[in-house]
Amino acid sequence: MPTAKDLQSLSDQEVVALARAGAESAYRELVRRYERPVFSLIYRMVRDHALAEDLAQDAFVKVLNALDSYRAEYKFSSWIFKIANNVAIDQLRRRELDTLSLDGSPDARTPEQIEATALQATDRAETPLAELEARELGAAIEEAIAKLRPEYRSCIMLRHVEGRSYEEIAEALDLPLGTVKTYIHRARHELRESLAHLRG
């Protein structure tokens, strides 16, 4: 039985092959690799920590229970992001959530919960002034992202936050490559418009 240390050096396709053979450690390795990116994507779509966690769980359960249908010629990351995005979009359509709380999730009750869900965009290596500007900019960016259309939001998050290529995003969201580029271009335009008021 491969150990967790052995699995870390394997590619996604190899880990999936082990998972299909019934290795529970392979399933856990897939969760370990993608829990942060998937949760981050969903959280920025729905802006609620508890809801994002439930949706991320649903996404992982769908993926892991359907490993037999995964085709190895496609990237596993594209497949899991596709399912995660669909789960988030479905929830947004049901709940029509488009609000954003910069000061923590509306469900946060204790100071610790508020701090955990509050948005931060700071770089510790910066000067205090730069840090303040970065914090203001990060908060403004988060607010602007929340106002984007869900499909624009998915594309911009996958491109500039998760660092995926255009081809991976097209594969993940099942969109033509040109459409992905158009969405990202329009999203950046809308974000620039939202931040134009910050110009000195």
Partner: protein, 171 residues
């Protein structure tokens, strides 16, 4: 407020930079356990089960436990078998004599056949023609050959050991 004059290109670069610096969020502790509680693991095939059992038994502690269990079960079995044998000794003795008689008769006939063929084949004459030194050389060569085959078979069949055994993906 950003205290700078920014052109469109600079603002776009600022947007992209701000996006790339957005923090990555993580779910709460125990997320993987909650996911695994809802996942249906596939039933492994017999081949996979055999490989898992072999890998499990290859670990020294497990091998020792298996050997101890085997010895203990053999002792328990003997504790039942020996009294039964002693209680049914006359019948067993008669049966053993009958079997031995049949077996010894077959062995005697076999040995006679082998010796007759050996005598007629000329192998006996060949062996008798060998001098003392050559005879010992022939016996030594035969013994070493047999030992080499046994050692080779052992290395060929032994289970791989060590932590660096590569992960073998099932076909």
């Amino acid at each position: 407020m950003i205290h700078k004059q920014l052109g469109d290109a600079e603002l776009d670069a600022t947007v992209v930079r701000a996006l790339s610096r957005l923090p990555s969020h993580a779910p709460s502790r125990g997320f993987a356990d909650r996911v695994m509680a809802r996942v249906q693991l596939p039933q492994p095939s017999p081949v996979v089960l055999y490989r898992r059992a072999r890998a499990w038994a290859a670990q020294p502690r497990h091998a020792l436990a298996l050997a101890g269990g085997y010895a203990a079960s053999a002792l328990v079995a003997m504790a039942f078998v020996v009294p039964w044998l002693l209680a049914h000794l006359p019948a067993i003795g008669f049966t053993a004599e009958w079997v031995a008689g049949r077996a010894s008769g077959a062995a005697r006939r076999g040995l006679l056949t082998i010796s007759q063929r050996a005598a007629s084949s000329g192998a006996a004459d060949l062996l008798q023609s060998l001098s003392g030194g050559r005879l010992w050389l022939a016996v030594t060569a035969l013994t070493l050959g047999y030992a080499g085959c046994a050692a080779g078979l052992h290395y060929f069949l032994r289970t791989p050991r060590g932590k660096d055994v590569p992960v073998q993906l099932p076909l």
